[in-house]
Symmetry: C3
Subunit: 251 residues, 3 copies
């Protein structure tokens, strides 16, 4: 049964799935589709319309959780299992895949493409025109920029490839690609492309080694990367079994 | 016609202009003046009073837009055309000019002076006693500090001069001046004054060149600075024509 | 007399002290204890329950002030005199002492231990399993991390010892200890332990001197550290007199 708190405003035009819950003082505008079993916390505003939208709705697919004080504009879409922290902001025309997690106070400025199983921790800032691959991890206070000569009309979004990790408080400069299975160290300032499987660190960031040389800090002596060998929390068995079978090809 | 949402609380003492709109669940306290045609989003609280105010009202001039979840204290004033993102915080005794833009989650701690046409993007933090000139750009996650030996009672605000740009995730240390038409690179830590027309970068930041040597990344081969040559979005024609005529003096 | 705004939701199961004030549109869930004379601003949600809690209540002790748009989960406790800025987030199982101040938009991810008279300014991020001593100062946009090889299941919280100061936009890497009365400079990236009484700066941070060699910037010629000699604002006389008597032992 759908539960809309009596203080919430839900437009009669919004399409609300089955067993949806909408919290106190939340506003759902007309041009919104909420998938089955999605929960929206308190003080959220979903589906704001501006001239930056293209008329398409905000689509939040099934089994999503949007925590309190979050703001989503219209004309973006999210696959099943979106989970957000508190006070998230998402502007128009972003398309995200399945099981996206967006940490507290993170902001996505719009016109972004984000694939499946991406994890943002808190206060991640993603400028317009960013592209993010599958299984990417972005830690707190990371900034992905897009204007190479501020202010200008040139917007060069960053690209983050599959399985890359960007550690806390790093920044990626406009147009840069962070490569497949690479690692950006904490506080790094990434001014040029990061090669696949490499670690970069510093200001400006330079290659400091291979990810495969980094050891887990659990005393096991095992390599920390690829992280899919040891970290499976929150992924479905179909995914983690696929990771295992891929590993076995190289044994 | 003024539109106050039925769930909003507007003090009878507040002075509300013509054609003002006040969104759901918003609170406007007594000591507030809202100019004509100003729009205030949902979940905002305007005009909070503390002992840090001086009894003067919060003044939001005409044609302003305050987005949702923002908080403004009393005793600050803003010229016409203020535009904010979501979740902005402004403390007491700041004075800002015309057409100020404050990005999402930015915070101004009070006792600041901000001139005309200043643009803050998201998560800009401005400590007490900061002075910012005209046409300044400050990009996401920039921090302007004021305490040289934390904690202390010595507050040395930063100064940012006209037409300066500070790129993403840079920090300016207490008492430092960022000069006229200068550029602070992304992630720079600015420990001493930045000369006019110069670019600084690094930790600590050093002069790395002249702004006039930086090319636009649009393939034109044109210089990116002064940015007033190529970037006019959002400024009135009277301003952009003035920029053109100033340029022509030097031809 | 307790003042609950008519638009607030307070669970009948919550234990509300004397002379408590609860602001508009605020939600207080069942498993919450609010001490006498505590004030809670607008749009706050207190006592959210998840499987990460242990069933114990959220305890906010007497004489506390929680500013608007803040979110606290259950199973954390705060000593008397907690003061927060706006939009603070605190997750489960954190234990904090007396007179804790948490700046606007700061986040504490849970499982932290925080002693007495700690001051966080705005946008401080504290990862799980962090330990913070007495009289610590943490300035805006500081990040305390915990995952040495993201993503992993190894969580190594940071430790910050008594009277340490961490200046703006610094980061402390997982498992690092910031020593007694030490100072981390603005924008530093602290990759290894900071010795007591020392100043570290840079990326990676290195020891650059003793705190006792840093002068106050007020023209007095006095040393800025230990800061307890000159900075007493907001501490009770019993504390500041103790500081004076400790100093006199060394004269």
């Amino acid at each position: 049964m759908t539960l809309v708190h009596p203080t919430a405003y839900v437009s009669p035009g919004a399409k609300i799935g089955k067993s949806v819950e909408i919290g106190p003082f939340t506003i759902v505008h007309e041009n919104v589709i909420l998938g089955d079993r999605t929960k929206v916390g308190a003080y959220c505003e979903l589906g704001l319309a501006t001239q930056l939208g293209d008329g398409t709705p905000l689509i939040i697919s099934e089994d999503s959780l949007i925590r309190s004080h979050s703001v989503f504009y219209e004309s973006s879409s999210f696959g099943p299992g979106l989970t957000t922290g508190h006070r998230v902001t998402v502007r128009e025309k972003t398309k995200a895949g399945s099981s996206f997690q967006i940490g507290t106070s993170s902001e996505i400025q719009g016109d972004c493409l984000i694939r499946d199983y991406v994890r943002f921790q808190s206060n991640v800032f993603v400028g317009k025109k960013t592209t993010i691959g599958n299984f990417v991890w972005i830690l707190p206070y990371v900034v992905l920029t897009n204007d190479p000569t501020p202010p200008s009309n040139v917007l060069m979004g960053c690209t983050v490839e599959d399985y890359a990790s960007i550690a806390a408080a790093a920044i990626v400069l406009p147009g840069v690609t962070v490569g497949y299975q690479s690692l950006v160290a904490a506080k790094a300032c990434v001014t040029k492309d990061v090669p696949p499987y490499m670690v970069v660190a510093g200001l400006p960031a330079r290659v400091v080694g291979k990810t495969s040389d980094i050891k887990l800090r659990d005393g096991s002596g095992d390599s920390a990367y690829p992280w899919t060998r040891h970290f499976k929390r929150g992924y479905p068995v179909s995914i983690t079994e696929h990771w295992v079978s891929e590993e076995e090809k190289y044994l």
